[in-house]
Each structure stands twice: as structure tokens, then as C-alpha cells.
Assembly symmetry: C2
Homo-oligomer: 313 residues x 2
């Protein structure tokens, strides 16, 4: 399989978008970054990636407005989902009827938001949307500086169709850049699998202000995390994306090595930033209820985290 | 009915104990206060009560150790339940086999803790324990200064028996001091009724950091408060203290006049003080589960508030 060829735009060039964009550019792909706060630093000095897989520096094609970036063949979305409201303005100048869009954002509802923001490109926009789940530990440590601490692999699929050669060509973009990328026929299944961990540990990171190690070491929280994970398994099955029922026990076991890890939502909460509560907890809860699943703990977690989120705004 | 006659000791002379003790003393009853932080101020200047029912000042009999207070005929406990661990040391010098103890503390398990702390007085100590639920808005504004803002009435009963003349005589103590006091054959019923409100609004005051007005104004929190209240109704029935199933709807309606009221637990949380989580949420949840009731939201609330409590310690 040959990697996808074309002009690639990175929208949302934070710790995630800038990292993947930089790896693709280093491998010789035609990558263009849309940046806001880091624009001048990267225009003047390029991108610095400090990584456990090897540090590197990159002169980057960088733009400070979607109009300046212009139309791309592939857009990779690395926004926080709290910024999804800006998608229509971001995609209007950068996407046409031939543009593919891959969202690497967290949770549920992002492919839908991207498809809706592509309505100016004509009918069938959702057929030009792909989604991916990034398993990545990275931080933006200063303007233009990314610290890649661990992992980096991606699970990817078409929004509303099984895997095609097109999916594989985009996966090959990542593979040719040294990033493991698995393709899935049922993207929602991969998304729900990630949510088993994310709902429990992001949610309790905020509602109990407890990091992963403390959730696992506190009997009531460990038991609550397990109950929440079971509800996510039930919700996934009810919405047509069945996942392995043994996943909660496995994930709890595997998380033991993480120690006092603070989930992204806990970090955002502690920093007073808006929380990705809608995509990670709200939308999964709504879909579970619409499918008739009983998810009282997810519902309660959503109410609490949403209230705590709005408190910081 | 003649009011109870005898030497009355107030243990835990904060906003609640000092208020009731002062009202009883003003009415001519023989009241003695055990105080710690306020001891010198009250010894030198007496107690000042600012009240919507009339301000007054009182020279008080005050002691700075349970040994100095000595044996009383009736002890009124106004501690925070987080101090229940001190009950054995507090009751050893102040209670003998004839002493009655009335706990006005919040939640469940306090009569049990008092009875256990009376073991030195011989068998059948639980028959000398009474409990009361105080509906009181008061603050300690400075050493020896109490601000009584609203309400003040009490619901009271024997720990493990129906109302007797003894119960009525103690109730008359309060009535003769201008305080409404109702007696209940089933104390636990009165306690669970109060818990319908307390679990929902104290719990969400901490877990959602939302005051009463905000819980009522936020659809997800309003609905969660109702669901929690329903679980408390189910728990009460399962433990043999059935209460009116219409109580949740009534209480939510009646709370609308409270505005941005911060529950005691929310105030404690915001001040970094230990939370009465065991008596208000933990013990009710344990009793509900032991009785076979399904209370997933109470259980989750307990796990979260307990985790947040320990975080502040």
C-alpha cells in the first residue's frame, strides 16, 4: 500500500496535532500547520520535538489563519473538542468536495461535528470523514516545543463505512512515518473501547480529584471505576459497537503501572481550562440512554463533571 | 408535662450546642457548658446570642474539661460527627448509670456511637440514649458569639423505644425555652426524612460544588437530586423506617425559597474542614445496602465525597 499523496493540513497544532504533523513532515510528506499562539515561534525557529524515540527539529510550513492555509487534500484535526464550535470557520477555507478530514479528537460526536462543518462542500460530506483514536503521551512545553513522552499509536477507521484502500493509504501515511496505525471496520467500536478507560479515569480525575493510582488504591473508587466501566460496556453494546466484557478488569489491571498519572481532564480541571466533558462523557451518556441502556453512574458522572466544568468558566 | 429537672451538660458548644444551651439556661434550666476554644471568652464575658427571635446575653457555667464538668443528669451532644471518636473520653467523666444523653448530631450512627461510649455505665446503655434532629440555621461568629438566623425546632425520640413520659419531659425542656420540639415513636423515620434533603444537597454541595439554588436551576443536577432523594426513600423503607414517597418532590419545591444556600457540608468543604460524610452519606448507604436496597447513586456519592474529604486532610 502506497501512502496517501497530497497537501496535508494540521488543524489544532497542540501537543497532539503538532507531534503527528512533525513526524509526517520529517518522513517527507507535504505538511502544513495552522497555528495560533505558537505561530511566530514556529515561523521563526521551527518545531522542536523532544521524544523518547529520538529528538528532532523541523522547519515547518506554518500559517496563522485558515484562509492562509487554504484548501488541503487531507486535514488532520487535533483540536480539543471544546473548540469544535470553531470547526465551520476552520473548514470553510480549507476543505472542498475532494478534501478528506481525519479527526483525532477524543470521545464521541467529533466525526458528526466535522461532517456538519463540511456542509459547504456538498452532499455526502460524512463519506469524506475519518476518525482516529490516538494513544499518545505528549505535552507542549513551550511555543514550538513538543515533548513526546510515551506511546503514539493510532486506531483509525472511516466514519460511516468499513475500511477501504483509502483508509489504508492514510494509515500508511502514519506507518511510513514510524507510527503504528491499525485500521478498524467499526470505528465506533474502537472509540467505545477507549471510552471504557476515559470515562472512568477522566471522570473520577475531576469528580473525585483522584489520579489513576489513587483510584486504584481506594476501595470505593476502584469499585466505582469498575462499575462505570461496566456501564460503558453495556452502553457500547446497546449502541451497536459491542466490546469485550472482560475489558474493565483488564484495563484496571493494566492501569496499575501508571502510578499517580493525571488524566487529561484532571490536568485541564486543575489548570482551570474547559473540560472535554461533552465528547468524553455527555455524548456517550446521551447515546447510551437513547439506545435504552441503563447507565445511572455515567449519567451522574456527567451531571457532576458538567457542573464542575461550568464552575471554572 | 413538667420539664425534665436536673443538671444539664452541653458537650460540643458550637453554633448548635451553645445556642440550645443558652436558650435553656435563659429559661431557668440548670445548664453547664463544656467548651474548648471559646472557654476563656465565655468565662470572662458570657455568651452573646444574636437572634431573629430576640438578642440576649447570658452568664454561663463553663468548663474546659469533661472532668471539670463532671457528672450530669442529661447531656446534650452538639458535636460535629467527625469528632465522635472523642465520645468515650468526653462521656467517661460526665455520665453515670443514671445519665441520659441526647445527641443532636447529623445523620445516622450517632446514637450507636453514644451508646458504645457509655459502656462504662453498665448494661443497657442504649436505653439511656435519645436522638434529635435540629432544624436550625445558626453560626458561631466569634468566641462566645452565636448568630441565630432562622428556625430552631427539633424532632426527638428515644434511640430504641417509643416515646415515654421521659421523652416528653425532655421535649418540654425545649418547649419551655420557646423551642418547638416534636416527639417521634420512630426516631429513625425522622432521621431518614432529614437525610432525604441532607444526602442530596450536602452531597452535591461537595461533589458538584453547587449550592441549593444552582442544583435546582441546573436540569441535570435537579434530576440527580431527585434520583438521589428517591434512593433515600427506598433505603429508608428497606431499613424499616418508611417515609412519604412524595417527600422528594415536596422538598425540592420547598427548597426553591432557599436561594444560593450553602449546605453545612459545602461550607466545611470550602473551609477545608473534615466533612460529616460518614454519618450523612456513608452510614445511610451501608444500612441501605445491608437491607438489600439498590442505591447506586448514594454509593457513588459516598465514594466521591469520601475521596474529596480525605483530599483536604
Amino acid at each position: 500500500m502506497t501512502a496517501f499523496q497530497g497537501r496535508i493540513g494540521i488543524i489544532g497544532s497542540g501537543a497532539l496535532g503538532a507531534f503527528y504533523g512533525a513526524r509526517l513532515a520529517r518522513a517527507g510528506h507535504d505538511v502544513h500547520f495552522l497555528m495560533r499562539s505558537d505561530y511566530e515561534a514556529v515561523r521563526d525557529n521551527g518545531l522542536f520535538v523532544k521524544s523518547f524515540e529520538g529528538d528532532f527539529h523541523l522547519k515547518a510550513n506554518v500559517y496563522n489563519s485558515p484562509e492562509a492555509l487554504g484548501v488541503c487534500d487531507l486535514l488532520i484535526i487535533g483540536l480539543k473538542t471544546t473548540a469544535n464550535g470553531a470547526l465551520p470557520q476552520l473548514l470553510a477555507p480549507t476543505a472542498n468536495a475532494d478534501t478528506l478530514v481525519l479527526t483525532l479528537e477524543n470521545g464521541l460526536g467529533n466525526e458528526d461535528a466535522v461532517a456538519a462543518a463540511l456542509s459547504h462542500t456538498g452532499k455526502g460530506a460524512s463519506a469524506r470523514v475519518l476518525g482516529g483514536i490516538a494513544f499518545l503521551c505528549s505535552n507542549r512545553t513551550a511555543p514550538g516545543h513538543i515533548h513526546h513522552m510515551d506511546h503514539g499509536w493510532i486506531r483509525m477507521g472511516e466514519f460511516d463505512a468499513p475500511v477501504t484502500d483509502r483508509t489504508r493509504a492514510i494509515a500508511e501515511l502514519f506507518v511510513s512515518s514510524g507510527i503504528r496505525c491499525e485500521v478498524y471496520d467499526n470505528l465506533m467500536q474502537a472509540r467505545w473501547e477507549k471510552l471504557v478507560w476515559n470515562i472512568a479515569f477522566n471522570g473520577l480525575g475531576v469528580a473525585a480529584q483522584a489520579d489513576v493510582g489513587r483510584v486504584l488504591a481506594t476501595p470505593e473508587l476502584h469499585s466505582l471505576a469498575h462499575d462505570l466501566m461496566q456501564e460503558v460496556v453495556i452502553a457500547a453494546a446497546a449502541t451497536g459497537a459491542p466490546i469485550d466484557p472482560a475489558m474493565p478488569a483488564k484495563m484496571l489491571k493494566n492501569s496499575e503501572s501508571m502510578g499517580p498519572y493525571h488524566s487529561s481532564m484532571q490536568v485541564d480541571f486543575e489548570s482551570g481550562r474547559p473540560l472535554e466533558v461533552e465528547s468524553i462523557i455527555g455524548e456517550p451518556t446521551r447515546r447510551a440512554k437513547a439506545a435504552g441502556a441503563s447507565v445511572p453512574r455515567m449519567e451522574m458522572l456527567y451531571a457532576l463533571v458538567k457542573a464542575l466544568d461550568q464552575r471554572t468558566q
